[in-house]
């Protein structure tokens, strides 16, 4: 691929969504709904087409010439010290992200045309959505740390816009703010990581030009000693950034709240694209993570832990979108676990399939919510399958893929991902993580089919489901396409087990130059294809157990929640219901103390100390003036007495000095 071609692709891919966003922001209105819809969807579709063309061109190129970095302009150059340029990279990793973002994004945009049909703020909505896609593409194309950070933050801000889209709902406003501030924490971590990287790329400090260009950094990655504290700190900070974006413990509390946004937003941002950026980041920075084993382990543990926790919470939620949100958190936890284990391609693969089936689930949920007139509580649903036939089938496919039922896309990616752990991790810990991982399969099956069963099967809990009607075609088509992808993507992308020597051009092979060419450290190699039959069988079995359990619990017997809950220890249900008390904990440990400090500053420090010292001096001077004034008695005898006294005093002093 030539530089010129890549520059064109980058500009077009970024340009279409941005221009679409600007047009809708400037000229769009609810009255010009047709224009808004066309601009909003076509801009993303065009970007997808460009990405697809780029993929084809890339596949025709030789494997060693598939990664190209272009410099668009200099951002800030300090002669002799620093050089930051806007650089974009088109390589195997970024093209996959481009395709996912624009492809799934396009479908969701089309869906939104139907979903937002009656909303007054449709122009604003599409402007934000296009801007989000632009930001996400910006993030994945960036080849310079500063631009990565800019994209990182643009993504956060567009998600902030979209979560708070219905700004007259206080809960939406609060959720948006929470999401944004969490993201800022991640941004700051990334910024400081960038500082650590540039000041350490070549040593010693002061004898080189700081460059934030990622190819340069990776090329000079030998500057970082394997396992040194520097690289450990860098990777810790990068991981914090990734955790914030991917809603991992302990920065996960914003994601469920973020469901306050319109459902297509949840599908696009909080399932398919933005929240996976953390996975992308760690994969992108794998040369550094490969040198920081402690942080790799930490990332894997956090991923699996978050996944488990989210699975448990998902079991008790009653808001349809929150259930899916926790499911997202759980699945991303698995991806994070994978990249933490060094299985970057596996993580990326799950990222892609997850984008399909999770977008599908959210859009399906959107159809349900649409049909129920903005009702999200699953306790009032039930039996919707009779009314929403296509949605129900699609949702079922999504749930099957999510649960890891064989031959659906999720099965390929997930079971394989888990398989790496037991094979490649260090000893007992890896085994433990793997065991937790397969337990998560049970949880996944449970919550996925709990949702499906309660919403679509059984008898309606209230009269409202009876009045529900299927979504219009424009909302069904994307759902069906996604359902198809969820069902068959696994076959297209990757056959997980090598049957003899027969292998297609698979996902890992395609990505392998990215994950191997730069570094050649001890942990640099991708674990390879052979995840092993055993791991896969165990994982699949666990998934089936989970699904079966769910169907047994919720489909056939239709028990009330209390009966089920009574069989489980109370503290677990409480933890699950209260989302492990993290909101309360942060409120008590961070928000309240900070507020208290701020209040203390305002009530005490500012008036008493900061202002106090000034006023104190003023008052002191004033008092001194007051003390002196009474000497001015107005009586001549006093005045003359003072005069004589002082005259004599001066005489005595001066003469006394001389005489002595």
């Amino acid at each position: 691929m030539s530089q010129g071609f890549v520059t064109t692709v980058v500009l077009l891919v970024l340009g279409f969504p941005l221009i679409g966003s600007l047009i809708n922001a400037a000229f769009g209105s609810a009255k010009r709904r047709g224009l808004v819809n066309i601009v909003g969807t076509v801009s993303i579709g065009a970007a997808f087409v460009v990405s697809a063309v780029a993929l084809i061109v890339m596949l025709t190129a030789a494997s060693s010439h598939r990664a190209v970095t272009v410099t668009l302009w200099n951002w800030y150059v300090v002669g002799g010290s620093l050089s930051v340029a806007f650089q974009a990279t088109l390589d195997q990793l970024s093209i996959i992200m481009l395709l996912v973002v624009t492809g799934v994004g396009f479908l969701i945009h089309v869906y939104s045309v139907g979903y937002m049909e009656h909303d007054e703020g449709v122009a604003r909505f599409f402007a934000y959505m296009n801007f989000f896609v632009f930001s996400m593409l910006f993030l994945v194309l960036a080849a310079d740390l500063v631009f990565l950070i800019i994209g990182w933050a643009l993504v956060a801000v567009s998600s902030y816009f979209l979560i708070g889209f219905w700004y007259e709902r206080p809960s939406a406003v609060a959720a948006a703010r929470k999401a944004f501030i969490t993201q800022v924490i991640g941004d700051v971590a990334l910024v400081i990581a960038a500082f650590l990287i540039v000041t350490n790329v070549m040593s010693p400090i002061g004898t080189h030009i700081y460059s934030l260009s990622m190819p340069t950094i990776f090329h000079n990655v030998a500057s970082f000693q394997y396992g040194s504290s520097t690289v450990t700190w860098i990777c810790l900070l990068l991981a914090i950034g990734a955790f914030a974006k991917s809603a991992q413990f302990p920065l996960h509390t914003w994601l469920p709240d973020a469901m306050e946004g319109p459902t297509p937003v949840s599908a696009l941002i909080h399932a398919a694209t933005m929240v996976t950026a953390g996975v992308y980041l760690i994969a992108r920075f794998h040369p550094l993570f490969d040198r920081a084993p402690i942080i790799q382990g930490l990332v894997a543990c956090v991923g699996i832990g978050t996944s488990f926790m989210a699975g448990i919470i998902a079991l008790s939620q009653v808001d349809i979108k929150r259930v899916i949100a926790y499911s997202t958190m759980s699945q991303i936890g698995l991806m994070i676990y994978a990249v933490g284990m060094g299985a970057y391609a596996a993580g990326m693969y799950h990222l892609v399939t997850h984008a399909f089936f999770k977008a599908l689930l959210f859009l399906g949920a959107g159809n349900v919510i649409h049909a129920m007139h903005d009702e999200q509580d699953i306790r009032v649903m039930g039996g919707l399958g009779k009314r929403l036939k296509i949605t129900e089938k699609s949702f079922l496919i999504g749930s099957l893929a999510l649960s890891g039922i064989p031959l659906f896309a999720g099965w390929f990616s997930k079971e394989n991902l888990l398989g790496y752990g037991v094979l490649n991790g260090p000893g007992h810990v890896a085994l433990l993580l793997y065991i937790i991982g397969v337990c998560i399969n049970v949880l996944t099956g449970l919550y996925a089919f709990r949702l499906w069963a309660i919403v679509f099967k059984g008898e309606p809990q209230t009269a409202r489901p009876a009045a529900a009607h299927e979504a219009p075609r424009i909302m069904l088509v994307p759902v069906v396409i996604l359902a198809a992808l969820s069902a068959i993507a696994g076959f297209f992308l990757w056959w997980p087990v090598a049957f003899g020597s027969v292998r297609v051009q698979d996902f890992t092979q395609f990505l392998s130059p990215v994950f191997t060419s730069i570094t050649s450290g001890p942990l640099a190699h991708e674990p390879g294809v052979a995840s092993g039959w055993i791991g896969m069988l165990v994982g699949t079995a666990m998934s089936l157990i989970g699904v079966g359990g769910a169907l047994r619990l919720w489909l056939r017997r239709e028990p009330d929640a209390e009966t089920v809950a009574s069989r489980i220890p109370r503290f677990i249900t409480q933890l699950s219901m209260h989302k492990f008390y993290f909101d309360e904990l942060y409120d008590a440990a961070i928000v309240r103390p900070l507020r208290a400090v701020a209040k203390w500053c305002r009530k005490l420090i500012e008036p008493e100390i900061m202002d106090g010292w000034v006023e104190g001096v003023g008052i002191g001077v004033d008092d001194l003036g007051n003390t002196l004034q009474p000497f001015q008695s107005g009586l001549i005898r006093d005045y003359i007495a003072y005069m004589v006294f002082f005259a004599l005093l001066f005489v005595i002093i001066i003469v006394g000095v001389v005489v002595r």
Binding site: D622, G625, M643, F650, V651, I654, V655
Partner: protein
């Protein structure tokens, strides 16, 4: 050692003044002669035409001013002894003359309308102003202790009368009486000091005293030092330096505004001229002995003046205390006693003259009724009613506060510079800290000028339309503080010439 004895010692040298003597003292003599003619004219002019006297006095002052300017050019850098070393004809004296004349011109230009309003429009006013001016100008040129004393007596007598000029007003009467008593006492101290100096040195002429003092530095007689201190106390009283300042607020407050303005400015200029001639020139050899006293008085003046001024609610009293503080700053210049310091004090005096007058003139121009209108409260809202008058006052106040680029800043700047150059950093820091205090009471007045009138006080204060002549004259003065502030080299150059002339006699032998 009596006064008669000293006089007798001086007299043999005195003859009938020569033609040259008259020429050299022409500015002083014009004003002095004008005083006598005015007294005569006063009896001839009908009461309704008293403002003719103002015009006449103005003419006299301007004539004297013209001669001063001509003299400045002709005398060059010389220092010429006049009338048997009683006076010195030099640029220093002429500089002082100019400042005093400016003050006198201001007050005469402003007085007619003001005196009419106060119903004290008497012809004596102008003759007394001329008399006081003459005394001050003589003081500025005096080169003999005798002449210093006589000049002070002349100016003081006129001012005693002027202070009590509002005859019907008890405060004014009290002011006149108080000033008279205190002034008499101070004169006695001054004379006592002079007598001691004369007794120890055998001379009344400053150059001769300087020679005697310089010749015998090893053994300094305590009596001589006592005399020096007493002389300083006497002069310190005139410049209202703390702790000899007690009379100032009472007298300033009681005296008519015009007199307060004149007295606060011109007296200080003249008395500082004497201090500089005596201490910074003649007694420089004994510097180490009197430095402590002058520094102490300077520090006290800055402290007391500024602190008590903070508490004032009457602009006349505020300016009295401010004047005390300003004397303190100028005394820094005396205390460090460098040659740069003298020029600094001269610039300071010029700034002080223009600025203090600017403030009081503003009140004089628009004040209605009694002098009570000089309370802060009655100044509220002047900025809206008479923006130009208020702006003049504000600029003058800022100049007093020492804001660049106004002339007042340069006074402080040169004085502080000389202090630092002579290693008196503590004095400079003290000066800076107290100036910071001073900003508040000056700005407070400005804020009052520009704040809205209080309506709950029962009706708004009304002001008179300012008299045109006075307004123009004062406007020129205020403009000068701004323009000369920017083009300060002009003033500084003049001050340096005056300083150089003062030092000729010292440098010569």
């Amino acid at each position: 050692m009596t006064f008669a004895h000293m006089l007798a010692a001086t007299l043999p040298a005195l003859q009938f003044p020569s033609g040259a003597d008259v020429v050299h003292l022409l500015p002083e003599l014009i004003v002095g002669g004008g005083f006598i003619v005015t007294m005569v004219l006063d009896t001839l002019i009908p009461p309704s035409r008293k403002s003719w006297l103002a015009a006449w006095s103005l003419l006299v002052l301007l004539a004297s001013g013209a001669v001063t300017v001509i003299d400045w050019v002709t005398v060059g850098g010389q220092q010429i002894s006049v009338y048997a070393e009683s006076f010195s004809y030099d640029r220093f004296g002429l500089f002082i003359n100019a400042l005093i004349l400016i003050a006198a011109i201001f007050v005469v230009a402003l007085s007619p309308s003001y005196l009419e309003r106060q119903k004290i429009h008497h012809g004596e006013f102008y003759s007394l102003i001329l008399a006081a001016s003459a005394g001050m100008m003589f003081l500025g040129s005096s080169e003999s202790l005798m002449m210093v004393f006589l000049s002070i007596e002349v100016l003081s007598l006129a001012l005693y009368l002027l202070s009590g000029f509002r005859r019907g007003n008890t405060k004014s009467q009290e002011a006149g009486f108080k000033y008279f008593l205190m002034g008499g006492f101070a004169s006695a101290i001054l004379l006592m000091g002079m007598a001691l100096v004369y007794g120890e040195t055998g001379h009344t002429q400053l150059p001769a005293i300087a020679q005697v003092v310089a010749a015998d530095l090893q053994s300094v007689d305590p009596l001589l030092l006592t005399g020096i201190v007493l002389v300083f106390v006497g002069l310190g009283f005139k410049v209202s330096a703390a702790p000899f300042h007690m009379w100032t607020p009472d007298v300033y407050e009681g005296a008519p505004l015009a007199v307060t303005a004149f007295m606060s400015v011109a007296t200080k200029v003249a008395a500082f001229a004497a201090i500089l001639r005596i201490f910074s020139v003649a007694l420089t050899p004994l510097y180490t002995h009197w430095e402590v006293a002058v520094s102490a008085i300077s520090i006290l003046s800055m402290l007391i003046g500024n602190l008590v001024a903070l508490r004032q609610t009457n602009i006349k009293r505020m300016l009295a205390y401010s004047g005390i503080a300003q004397a303190g700053y100028m005394l820094i210049g005396v205390a460090v006693s460098g040659s740069a310091a003298i020029a600094g004090v001269l610039v300071y005096l010029a700034a002080y003259t223009l600025s203090t007058f600017g403030v009081l003139a503003g009140v004089m121009l628009v004040a209605k009724g009694d002098d009570d209108s000089s309370s802060y409260r009655s100044l509220r809202g002047l900025g809206h009613a008479h923006p130009y008058v208020a702006a003049m006052m504000a600029l003058s106040l800022l100049s007093l506060a020492g804001f660049p680029p106004l002339l007042g800043f340069w006074g402080k700047f040169f004085v502080f510079t000389s202090a630092i150059q002579n290693g008196q950093i503590a004095l400079a820091i003290w000066g800076v800290l107290t100036s910071a205090i001073s900003i508040f009471y000056y700005i407070r007045v400005i804020l009052i000028l520009y704040s809205p009138q209080e309506s709950e006080q029962g009706g708004t204060v009304s002001w008179l339309a300012p008299a045109r002549v006075g307004a123009v004259v004062v406007g020129l003065g205020v403009a000068a503080t701004v323009v000369l502030g920017v083009f300060v080299p002009v003033v500084y150059h003049l001050a340096l010439s005056a300083r150089d002339a003062l030092l000729v006699r010292i440098a010569a032998p």
